[in-house]
């Protein structure tokens, strides 16, 4: 099997844990290196943001955001079902994440 070409099959995403700002990201792949679940791969094109191949396997620990040398390049998105509610104490105004 050594000589055969193999492929990555991107998963249809149940969620989109990460978004990259292509204007800010320098494609250094530091986030790829530190992701313990290994959900990203480097983009085949030099300098481009990595590809999130396995979005469903994200643990949402934010290590990628913490190590990113270009603040704002990566956003860790909350799962839409996790829109936690809070209320302003003095006005009663409601907010959702």
């Amino acid at each position: 099997m050594t000589d055969e070409l193999i492929y990555a099959f991107p998963e249809p995403a149940a969620a989109e844990p990460l978004t990259f700002d292509q204007e800010i990201c320098i494609g250094c792949n530091t986030c790829v290196d530190v992701c313990q679940a290994d959900i990203m791969v480097p983009h085949p094109e030099y300098g481009m943001p990595p590809i999130v191949l396995y979005p469903g396997e994200c643990w949402y620990d934010g290590s990628c955001v913490r190590v990113c040398p270009e603040p704002g390049a990566i956003s860790l998105n909350s799962l839409s079902m996790n829109r936690v509610h809070w209320k302003r104490k003095d006005t009663g105004e409601d907010f959702f994440l």
Binding site: P10, D38, W59, S63, V84, H85, W86, F95
Partner: protein, 649 residues
């Protein structure tokens, strides 16, 4: 960047079938908190050390992204309990079903590890004087305390600084770190189950290259089993509390190698999973990281706190004090899961009682009702430093406008939970089962040591750190005089065939389908109430799943192979749990263990550790006295005559 819809050519070199061989004195499997400390402990003893980690050691493990409090630091200069007293409290608080050895190590050496961390660049005290004047701060040492402010044995820490410091220390000490390598099996003398362990095999999760490690001593430092009852095919990464790759590979490898386990029959009704609950520490509550937050009901009425005797506590400060006549209380991760009056700490009144008194749902955390320093200690220090709170909770909530000075954060469940689980959805939480250990943290198998979540009745960060370092140095001592390890080539060849099998198939079942099958079987046959017939049928169902699905698992690249091998380990762990449940023919309250065919709870003749292990591929039952570890202080000192911790220097 979102994934493209077409297949991509695999971006890493493909090295299927290529093999690397590595020899070392001490092999550490697992690069989380326990694994890094084991490597450091062994390397400082002069051993040549290899560390193998499935992810990236700089962040990997359940404690890789943070830790907000360090429990059982009984030797810190402000502590008012001795390691002996605190360990006895932990044992009694769990009805005796506790690892006296590992928790004594935690109580005795945990603070030494914190001092070590400080020299590596970790932050363990309030050096910036942010909390000057707080009642939970010692002004001389600048240490901050959590929970029991009188006895001061749990410390608030800046744990997001820890993992990178540990990783760098490993590198500085010459530990050879292999990231993205999944250990697949333990090698043994003559390939025999139960014989001396002589190393391990591994597969690279990006290239598929095979690795053979020969080691004089091996330390297993992997996670407790997970994804046994809980699995989310859509979002497998948040199926459980811990990271997706923390699924118990070490338990499965150990079981296959003949390691003896105990307390594997213990599981609790699930407390957290991404499918049912909000992110940990991300909702209003009064426990753990959020202890002892003020709460209000939906009308703004303050929710009362009470001590263990039901006396209402007037001010916030009392929530951090033992009750009248109480020596100490246990909180945080070491809170007894079945409340024990002797160590029960303050809490809000039970929800049912509050509703009867006219309090209205939902309840909210009201940080604004606390003093500025208490508020900052919860929101900013603990929520920020704990687990994965820094980015998804502290940063994202703040960016969305949450203001702890003005806003009430909704609560969605009781205790620390933010969801409700049916009884058949279970989890290994609250001092779960694991490998049996002696006073050197060696398992029953020669050459094999265990630390952290690999041990029975394991706990959290401080326990992993203390036992990791301890196991590492004892493994190094053994390796110093151990014979050279001989690798059994037949065993290696057999394992290579097994490990590569999913990659050899061009079609078959996906790992997600197999994991979902296992979870269904465990819920049906190993739920809240068990019986011999349920469990034996469950074992048949697992065998059927193995023959029908696991044996046709298919992986199209090394990443899918990693997930496939994990799910085979999960299947093995499911069998281990079923065997352990069959072996305890009595119900046990502290083990959350109910047998319908043996309904008497805690009959005296079953007050013991029941053990299971594989011998010639058959499960063998055994038992150990509940106090098999003997005198804590004497046995510890007999095994560690030359140890001098940083705290006593």
């Amino acid at each position: 960047m979102a994934a493209p819809s077409n297949p991509l050519e695999w971006p890493y070199p493909v090295e299927w079938d290529e093999t690397s061989s590595v020899a070392t004195d001490v092999l550490v499997l697992g690069g989380g908190i326990a694994g890094c400390w084991a490597a450091i402990g062994a390397a400082k003893r002069g051993a040549k050390v290899v560390l193998v980690e499935k992810g990236a050691t700089i962040t990997s493990g359940a404690g890789g992204s943070g830790c907000d409090h360090w429990e059982s630091a009984a030797t810190n200069p402000c502590s008012r309990v001795s390691p002996e007293e605190l360990t006895e409290a932990l044992i009694d608080g769990h009805g005796g079903y506790c690892n006296g050895i590992s928790h004594y190590i935690e109580c005795r050496e945990g603070y030494d590890r914190l001092l070590d961390l400080e020299t590596m660049g970790g932050k363990i005290r309030d050096t910036e004087d942010e909390f000057q004047g707080a009642e939970f701060r010692d002004e001389d040492s600048k240490l901050l305390f959590a929970y029991d402010y009188e006895n001061r044995f749990t410390l608030r820490v800046w744990g997001s600084t820890f993992k990178a410091a540990l990783y760098n220390e490993c590198r500085n000490l010459g530990v050879k770190v292999f990231d993205r390598l999944m250990a697949t099996s333990l090698l043994s003398l003559g390939g025999q189950q139960g014989a001396r362990v002589t190393g391990a095999t591994a597969v690279h999760t990006r290239t598929g290259r095979f690795f053979v490690f020969a080691a004089k001593a091996t330390v297993l430092c992997m996670s407790r089993p997970a994804r046994l009852w809980l699995f989310s095919p859509g979002m497998p990464g948040v199926s459980e509390f811990r990271p997706p790759q923390c699924n118990g590979d070490g338990h499965a490898m150990g079981w296959r190698a003949g390691v003896e386990f105990t307390m594997m029959e213990k599981s609790v009704r699930a407390e957290w999973s991404g499918d049912r609950s909000f992110p940990p520490y991300g909702t209003g509550n009064t426990h753990n990281t959020w202890y002892a937050c003020s709460m209000v009901d939906s009308t703004g009425r303050e929710i009362p706190w009470a001590d263990r005797d039901g006396n209402i506590l007037i001010d916030v400060s009392q929530r951090y004090r033992p009750a009248q006549g109480q020596r100490l209380f246990l909180k945080g991760g070491c809170e007894p899961d079945v409340p024990t009056y002797e160590f029960q700490g303050p809490d809000i009144l039970p929800v049912e009682e509050l509703l009867q008194q006219g309090y209205k749902l939902p309840f909210y955390a009201d940080l604004s009702a606390m003093s500025e320093l208490e508020r900052k200690a919860i929101w900013g220090l603990m929520v920020g430093e704990e687990g994965k709170t820094k980015i998804p909770i502290l940063e994202n909530y703040t960016r969305a406008g949450f203001d702890p000075d003005r806003d009430l954060l909704q609560s969605y469940g009781e205790g620390w939970q933010s969801g409700a689980f049916p009884p058949q959805e279970r989890q290994l939480f609250g001092f779960p089962g694991g490998m049996v250990n002696d006073w050197t943290l060696r398992t029953n198998v020669t050459g094999l040591y265990a630390a952290g979540d690999q041990l029975f009745a394991s706990n959290c960060h401080g326990h992993a750190a203390a036992t990791g370092h301890y196991a590492g140095r004892h493994a190094a001592d053994y390796a110093a005089s151990a014979p050279e390890p001989a690798t059994d080539q037949d065993q290696v060849d057999h394992e290579k065939t097994r490990a590569y099998a999913p990659a050899m198939r061009t079609s078959g079942t996906s790992w997600k389908q197999v994991n979902a099958s296992i979870a269904r079987i465990m819920q049906h046959y190993c739920g809240a109430t068990k019986s011999e017939e349920l469990l034996t049928t469950g074992l048949d169902a697992l065998r059927d799943a193995k023959d029908g699905e696991a044996d046709v698992l298919s992986a199209r690249n090394p990443h899918e192979l990693l997930r496939s091998l994990e799910v085979l380990n999960i299947l093995t762990n499911a069998e281990l749990v079923m065997h352990a449940c069959l072996a305890r023919r009595a119900s046990a309250r502290h083990l959350h263990f109910m047998r319908s065919d043996y309904p008497e709870v805690d009959p005296p003749e079953w007050y013991k550790f029941v053990t299971v292990r594989l011998e010639n591929e058959a499960a063998v039952e055994g038992e150990l006295a509940i106090d098999y570890f003997g005198s804590l202080k004497e046995n510890y000192e007999a095994s560690n005559g030359d140890y001098v911790g940083a705290a006593s220097k």
